[in-house]
């Protein structure tokens, strides 16, 4: 496990505020720091602003008519929020977007190859990585020639993930990687994250609803609620927090409760709301 204090901060988000459409204030001062070589998790309920935070970092916000109006985003100490997403990819930061976003008309393999668009290290290397992705996701190899638009939801998620890996990034921003994946695949994806993180030193910032798995693999976590960071700390510590346990892990004092019983149980008050 990584000790956050001892490593350099790779990505730093300082007190950013994000407004959509000039009027909708979504992030109200979010600060994060992502240490080099770590896995940082961004947790929080629906609409907390996880996706928005990631998009702010990767500069994709502008294409949604959103704007960072305050605060700074630094990558390796450099201000990056004024550039284009492509600049950031060249710097080694790539985002896997929520909701898959495959290139529908391209085949699975072509989708993966677009991931290598910015790479300059030659075809052979790219092909090697392609094989690597196929070895992670054998299902994709079977479907390599089909148009991505016609693959199943989970397959598209694998495509999106594989496509990011193909760019040989230094940092990956993962938005809900586990969404729609079968249970053993969820584990597998996180195993891959771990392997890539440990093997190649890739830094991860992941937004995840599946708190359980996320906190098992992450080193550090931030919890977002309605546009603010309400809690952060090392993953192990968060896992033990009673509130986190209750709201995010679905554990009550006496272990996991059945979803059938939810009707009869009343919630404790929340932190904020």
């Amino acid at each position: 496990m990584l000790d956050a204090a001892k490593t350099d901060t790779l990505l730093e988000v300082n007190n950013i505020e994000v407004i959509y459409n000039h009027v909708i204030l979504v992030l109200k001062g979010v600060s994060l720091s992502v240490p080099k070589g770590g896995i940082t998790a961004l947790l929080g309920g629906n609409g907390a602003g996880k996706t928005t935070t990631l998009k702010a970092i990767s500069n994709l916000l502008r294409s949604e008519r959103g704007e960072v109006t305050k605060g700074t985003i630094l990558y390796r100490g450099e201000r990056v929020q004024d550039g284009s997403p492509a600049d950031l990819v060249r710097k080694g930061v790539i985002q896997v977007m929520e909701g898959r976003h495959c290139f529908e008309h391209l085949t699975v393999e072509e989708n993966l190859l677009t991931g290598a668009y910015t790479r300059k290290d030659g075809r052979a290397e790219v092909m090697k990585d392609l094989e690597m992705v196929y070895s992670y996701f054998p299902r994709l190899k079977e479907r390599r020639k089909s148009q991505a638009g016609y693959t199943s939801g989970g397959e598209q998620q694998m495509v999106a993930m594989g496509r990011a890996l193909m760019s040989r990034p230094e940092t990956i921003l993962l938005d809900e990687p586990s969404m729609g994946l079968a249970p053993q695949l969820v584990e597998q994806i996180f195993e891959i994250v771990k392997a890539v993180n440990e093997g190649e030193g890739v830094t991860f910032l992941l937004a995840e609803q599946n708190t359980n798995v996320a906190l098992r693999y992450a080193h550090y976590g931030y919890i977002l609620e309605s546009g603010r960071v309400v809690m952060d700390g090392p993953a192990a510590q968060l896992r033990e927090n009673p509130d986190v346990k209750e709201f995010y892990l679905g554990m009550s004092d006496d272990g996991r409760k059945s979803f059938r019983d939810v009707r009869s149980y009343r919630r404790r008050k929340r932190w904020l709301a």
Binding site: I19, N21, H22, V23, L25
Partner: protein, 358 residues
């Protein structure tokens, strides 16, 4: 906090689903109606009535019609000019064949005829989508223009193929023909526009409107939740063409007085109305008004400034006008792709928050 919706509580669903749920809006609406009906007719001169207000009213009708098709039902059409021509020729045939019937009914019937033609050309929309459909509607545009140009029956066998609107009255007042006063034209079009806008508003807030929007936003999902795409699309084409036909009928009979199909109802007309709809705001009745006003007024305004005030040669002014209109369109789309209506909405949201930024 100029603009407030707080304190505006509704006690029934009826009240909540009315056209202007917010009191301030309602007051604005009645003020606008009052000005349109009781002030404008007494203050405008011939130039403003004939060259600005009448075309604005007519184009607003056409824009509402097209907005139903493009903005609400999501079927992009470039056949507006052709459908307006159907309205114009229908009203011409009706006026000359049944002179004793009141002109108002001619206009409505012309709309009905256009609705029928619109449905015919709308049928391919079941299979053809997006820009393919847009281009396909050009088939209607070119075919209809050709037809009206070619078949002498449509223009009563006149030597040149031009149609000229005969004099017609309503309640003893001339509505068409040379004797018509500008105010009569204005009021007649205004009444029709008011009716059209009301109907459009009613349709778009109810079941039919939801079917259209469902088809627009995601046609497959719409079908799966129970929207019959055939009837939804066909009604959209019918209603839209109905309004467009009325606009064509008025454009010819009340505004121009004479028309030649290729000239008055060419493809440029299709583009012009589409512009109005998009600049105004897709899927917004108010936007149709705003778009029509903008595109009718802008050239007049530019001309008056460039030629009238600055005294530039007309050709330089005309070229600059093209450049300015083009550039403005682009600028508008960049500033607010959802049109003037959305700008207005944002402005209201800002006003509501004022003086706080968020």
């Amino acid at each position: 906090m100029f603009y407030r919706e707080a304190g505006d509580f509704k006690t029934s669903y009826r009240a909540d689903s009315q056209t202007f749920p917010i009191r301030l809006d309602r007051m604005g609406f009645w003020a606008a109606m009052l000005i349109a009906y009781a002030v404008v007719p007494f203050v405008v001169d011939d130039y403003w009535a004939n060259a600005v207000f009448v075309p604005f009213l007519i184009y607003a009708i056409a824009a509402i019609g097209l907005n139903i098709l493009v903005g609400y039902a999501g079927q992009v059409s470039l056949g507006t000019g052709g459908f307006m021509a159907v309205g114009a020729y229908a009203v011409y045939k009706l006026m000359t064949s049944f002179p004793e019937v009141p002109f108002f009914f001619h206009v409505i019937l012309a709309g009905g005829v256009t609705a029928f033609v619109g449905v015919l050309f709308g049928l391919p929309s079941l299979r053809i989508k997006g820009f393919y459909l847009a281009v396909a509607t050009l088939a209607a545009q070119f075919f209809l223009v050709w037809l009206f140009n070619k078949v002498p029956w449509f223009y009563n066998y006149s030597a040149s193929g031009q149609i000229t609107a005969p004099d017609r009255t309503m309640l003893g007042i001339y509505i068409t023909g040379a004797q018509t006063s500008a105010v009569a034209k204005y009021l007649f079009c205004l009444v029709i526009l008011t009716l059209v806008a009301l109907i459009a508003r009613n349709l778009t807030r109810g079941t039919v409107g939801r079917k259209w929007m469902a088809i627009r936003d995601m046609d497959i999902a719409a079908e799966i939740i129970g929207v019959n795409p055939l009837t939804a699309k066909v009604t959209a084409f019918a209603v839209s063409s109905f309004f467009i036909g009325i606009a064509g009928a008025l454009l010819f009979s009340v505004y121009l007085g004479a028309a030649e199909v290729g000239e008055a109802f060419g493809i440029n007309k299709s583009f012009l109305v589409l512009f109005m709809v998009i600049i105004g705001g897709l899927g917004s009745i108010f936007g149709s008004f705003a778009g029509a006003a903008f595109l009718v007024l802008l050239p007049v305004f530019l001309k008056n400034v460039l030629v009238g005030t600055l005294g530039w040669p007309t050709d330089v002014a005309a070229h600059l006008e093209l450049m300015i209109v083009g550039a403005l369109i682009v600028v508008f789309l960049i500033v607010e792709p959802h049109g003037l209506a959305q700008l207005w909405r944002i402005a209201k949201e800002k006003l509501r928050l004022w003086p706080f930024p968020h």
